[in-house]
Each structure stands twice: as structure tokens, then as C-alpha cells.
Symmetry: C2
Subunit: 333 residues, 2 copies
DNA sequence: CCGATCTTTGCAACCGGTTGCAAAAAGATT
DNA sequence: AATCTTTTTGCAACCGGTTGCAAAGATCGG
């Protein structure tokens, strides 16, 4: 049924090795032989099986792509970039959906069964024990969007969430807000912890009172809405820093449903700058995370990690920036 | 480095076959042997390589998941469901991003190289020659969200887009609209063609004039916005059927930016009922497509197709329904 | 206790490739 | 033309599993 290397060899009148060498670069084949092989291949419609090759080379060109948040549209942007960038490098993503998965061992086993060359963990909410589990199973691992920790056993590519929290505080203060609240993602997400920490300490350092601190139960719209309703009990708030754009949208919709107008009654600052944040229904002022840079860099890192697993541990931090749109009252001149 | 079957066999003091049989169900192994093997496996941390196994069994448990729209959040819902449902069946998705890809041969080759057991093409905008190309390469193929065509060479799971178009027309008429327009997705997408056809013929059949017909260049927000601006030149419109919720949101935002209020000045009917459509910023009345049913059914179909490739050609059509929210003026009593 | 029957086991070939090695062929040098 | 290099080639073993087959072991009835 399926055309194999042997078929091509017979048709071309050469040895199997010759055919194999035609398709591995750097191998020694004469022009004459190569031509014969390519002709036979074309006639038969042959393409080498990466699966079989991987048995001998120990390289599947498969990269495990581990994620656990399929509710946040930002991840569609993330998948788009990953799949295309990996494709361009001749690699393929093997998607692992960790929603509802609590045991890292299951995922480790899955990925080991397919002999992936490396693993990219792309999430800011996963407990570290997951990425560590992959590491312990001897797979090259990069944690994208992860937390930088001194002595972390896995390579990290991401942002300085604490610094971004400070940046958020400065931004709100600069816009003249006085009664500022924090509406974060899930309290156990490292990204939320860090953003909160930077944000709150900076407010304190600037002698601005923290009006309220609330955590959404997930990085999604409904959770943002719900947390906002909780927060709305507190009439003292004039601006909110949300730990994520999607949460922020839920919060904004909750505020509007309660008759508040944005930014006159209340200001909002989001986080991520996903495509939707520019939509005129939200027109969200937000802190931009350089997603494409993080993704490209994490791919580059995993690739070099695959060829040199002993590579020195590394953390790559990209700078964020404030994107001013319409959910904060104008700066005083 | 990595633990193989041979290591386990040696440790357990049995033959390689015995170990292999322990992990293939239906094989004949005594309880005593199985115990020994499992003990050794545990101690060594062994899990069988699906890659190596696939060489002998010709089953990789890999399903190619082909998509070309990474801009529409509905696809995040789709990916979520696919990855989880496939995972539950011991299968894994190999994601193929067809954005910007014009040559089916590239994709065919990719999937063949990984020896996927089957292919699910999940899109309503791909030209049929893509799914046909997979079919011609002798892979089991299911086209999810595809068009039903008499004599189609691939199995199709989806909806009756023509019927849905009619349903949309009836809905707008029932709500008392008189000057109705169609704002579709890309004109070459089969889903758009069919929805337009059903919609427009039904309007005609009901003696309602078609105020305008416009096509967005893509199934995304910006394209919807742009198409709406084009359509807004025409002051005669009192309701619009959009071929997709996301397009509809772009259109709504364009309308609001032009000072129109919804649904008083203009009514909107979307298509899909994605999660975001229920957001209070849009609160979109729409035609619901039973995405989970389509996905589950397409998986079921590809699975049985893998075990019996000669299975009779089949089309599975699921019913859609109208979801009434707030973008159409209330029904007259 | 023996032979018939059923279950379990190991051997060896195979799945579709790669690769070290030595022999063969081609090219260079004198 | 003979010798030395360099390039190309095929052989055979290997990657990590599965499986048909025949031999070995267990079970059972008489």
C-alpha cells in the first residue's frame, strides 16, 4: 500500500542505503545516484517516514505544546504563532490540553510515548510541578509565560510580572486615580501573585491607598464579571487594574450593567493587549505583553536545547509597555 | 538513557515478547509473568514507545487536525473540544495550520510523514481540493463543518447551511423587519455561499426585498467592521444577517461608532453562538450551531473509518436553532 | 499416571528507516 | 600505467517494538 524506501531502491536499481542517503543531508551520494533515486521517488510518490527515521535518529521533530487555558482568546493567538513558527522550522506541535488534569505523570507518559524532542509549557497558571515533571523525565523543557525563579530547574521565557505590576500602579497614579483596586486572576497563578505583589507594593510606596483586592477564579470573562460584582459593593473605587484583558472585559461589562460609565465613573487597566482589546466596544487601555517575542524566543531556545541538553540554565525576560486607549481618563497636561 | 522493552525483559527475567504482550491487550500472558513485568517496569520507569509500536502495527494514534482560521475565537472552543475528546480516546491531535498555505501537497506530505491514522479537516472555508487531496493520499478523512455535496468523496459532518439561511430569513421577518441585508463571510467560503443562498431565496419567497448583500474578506472582526462601513452607505437597512458572530461583532461596533443604536435603529442576527456572543457588550441574537455534536460525531466517524476504511460514504447533518437575545427588536405579540 | 487439550512462552522475522565499516569506483599524481 | 587519495556504494546491524509459529508447560479426564 504505502511506498517504502525498499520500493524506491528496487525501482532505482540501487541499495536501500543509497535511497536513505539521498534524503539525509550531509550524506555522501553521487549526482548520478541521487538523480536515479529522485526519479524513482517521484514516479512512486515516496516520502520518507519520519516515524521510522526517528527510531534510528532519536529525533521525532515533535514538540509537546502544553497548555491549560482554552477559554482565553489570547491562546488562539498563541497557538497560531506556535504552529506556524514550528512548521517553518520543520517541527510539529503535539498539543496537550491540561484542562482538568491534576496529575503530571499522565502528561509525562503521553509525551514520552511519542518521544517528543522537547516540551514547551505555555501557560502562566500551571503549577511548577508540571514543568518540573517533564524535566525530571529528562525532556528538554522551556516554560513560556512562566515565572522567573532563582534556581528554577527549567528554562523560562516570559516577562517581569512584578515589574509590570509596578508599571500598572504608576500608570494609574499618573492618570490621577486615588482609590485603586486590584482585580486579579486565580490567586494560585504565579502570574497573578507577581502582578499583585508589584502593583500593591508600588501603590504603597507612592502613598496611595489600596481600595480593594479581589481575585477571579479563572482567567476568563465570566470569572472577571463575577469578581467585579463582588468588588462593586465597594463604592470607594475609581480605578481597577485587572490581571488580564479578558477578565477586564468581564469586569467592564459588569460595571456598565451597574450603570457605571467608563472611564468617567471608573477607569480600567488591562493586561496582555490581545487583539480584542482594541475592539471599539472595549477600547481597552492595557499593558502589552510581547507575545510574539516570547513565542519565537521559546522556540529558538527549545531548538538549541534539543541539540545541546546541557546548555546553561537561562531566563529570558522581555519588556512590557503601556498601551493607552480609552478606559482611563485622559492624562492631566 | 531511555528505558526500552529489552531492559524490562532482562530485569524481569522474561523474553521481550512477554513484555510486549503485557502491554497489548488481548495477548496471552500468565498472571505471574504479567506481575513480574509490571514490577520491573515500575522500578525502571518504563512506558512503551508508541512510535516504535506504530512501525509494526501501522497505527500511530495520531489524528491530523487541519484548520485554517486562527483568528476566530470559536476555534479555540473547537480546539478545546477536539483535544480533550481525542485525548479521552487515547488519540492525539497533530495540528496543521493552513493559514497562508495554498498547496495541498505540502500538507499531505507532512501528514504522511507522520503516518497519521486519519485526518479531520475542521473548517468551513477551505477549498474542497484540500480534503480531496488527503483522500487521494489514501488517508481516512472527515470534513467537519463542511458542505454536504452529492457525490462528495469525503465524509462530511456539519449543518445544513442553506436551511440555516432560510431560518435566518424567517427569524428576521418574524421580528417584523422589512429592509434586510446580508453580510457574509468570504465569498468563496462554501458556508457563506450556502447561507446566502438559503437566506436570499427565502426572503424572495416571502416577498421581502433584499436591501443589500456584502461580503467580508475573512471570518474575523476587522473584516466585519470594514464590510459594515461599506454597507452603512445604504440608509435603507433595518436588519442584517451576518454569516458569523465575530463578523457580526465587528459590524455592530461599526454601526455603533456611526451613532446607530441596536436594536432600535438596526437589528443584528449572528451565526454560530460562540461563548462571546452572550457577553453583555453584544448580547447577540444568533443562530446556534451545535459545535460539540459536530466535533464528537466527527471523531466517532474518523475512529470507525480508521478501523474500516471501506465504510459507506456518509453525511451527518445536525440541526441548528435560533438563540434570541438582545440584538433584534422584540417580537410583536 | 498418561495422553489430550489448552495456555503460555521464546525464537526469529519483520515494520521503515539510519549508519559504521570495508570494499569498489573514480580521480589525482607521478 | 602504477600507485595513492578521495568519493561512493552496499552490507549488515541496529533503533524499539509486534507477532506467527512451534515448543514447553499447565490442566484435566479417565
Amino acid at each position: 500500500m504505502v511506498v517504502t524506501l525498499k520500493d524506491v531502491a528496487e525501482r532505482a536499481g540501487v541499495s536501500r542505503s543509497a535511497v536513505s542517503r539521498t534524503y539525509t543531508d550531509g550524506a555522501s551520494v553521487s549526482d548520478k545516484t541521487r538523480k536515479k533515486v529522485e526519479k524513482a521517488s517521484r514516479e512512486l510518490g515516496y516520502s520518507p517516514s519520519l516515524i521510522a527515521r526517528s527510531l534510528a535518529t532519536n529525533r521525532t521533530k515533535l514538540i509537546g505544546l502544553v497548555a491549560n487555558n482554552f477559554q482565553n482568546p489570547i491562546f488562539l493567538e498563541v497557538f497560531d504563532l506556535y504552529t506556524r513558527a514550528l512548521q517553518e522550522r520543520g517541527l510539529r506541535p503535539l498539543l496537550v490540553n491540561l484542562t482538568n488534569e491534576t496529575n503530571p505523570e499522565n502528561s509525562v507518559q503521553m509525551l514520552r510515548q511519542y518521544n517528543v524532542d522537547g516540551v514547551i509549557v505555555a501557560t502562566s497558571t500551571l503549577q511548577p510541578r508540571f514543568s518540573h515533571a517533564f524535566k525530571n523525565a529528562n525532556m528538554p523543557v522551556v516554560h513560556a509565560f512562566g515565572r522567573f525563579e532563582q534556581g528554577s530547574p527549567v528554562h523560562v521565557v516570559g516577562i517581569d510580572n512584578v515589574g509590570c505590576g509596578r508599571m500598572a500602579a504608576d500608570t494609574l497614579i499618573r492618570h490621577g486615580y486615588k482609590k485603586i483596586a486590584f482585580l486579579g486572576g486565580p490567586q494560585m497563578a504565579t502570574s497573578t501573585q507577581d502582578r499583585a505583589s508589584g502593583f500593591l507594593t508600588q501603590l504603597k510606596a507612592s502613598d496611595v491607598d489600596v481600595a480593594d483586592v479581589v481575585y477571579a477564579t479563572a482567567y476568563n470573562y465570566d470569572a472577571g464579571k463575577e469578581a467585579m460584582l463582588e468588588l462593586l459593593g465597594n463604592r470607594q473605587v475609581d480605578a481597577i487594574f485587572c490581571g488580564d484583558d479578558l477578565i477586564c472585559m468581564g469586569a467592564m461589562d459588569a460595571a456598565r450593567s451597574n450603570g457605571l460609565s467608563i472611564p468617567d465613573d471608573i477607569g480600567f487597566l488591562g493586561f496582555n493587549d490581545m487583539n480584542m482589546s482594541a475592539w471599539s466596544a472595549y477600547n481597552l487601555s492595557t499593558i502589552r505583553q510581547p507575545t510574539p517575542d516570547i513565542i519565537l524566543s521559546s522556540i529558538e531556545l527549545i531548538v538549541s536545547l534539543v541539540s545541546d541538553p546541557t546548555r546553561a540554565m537561562e531566563t529570558r525576560i522581555f519588556p512590557c509597555s503601556v498601551v493607552e486607549r480609552g478606559t482611563l481618563k485622559p492624562l492631566k497636561p
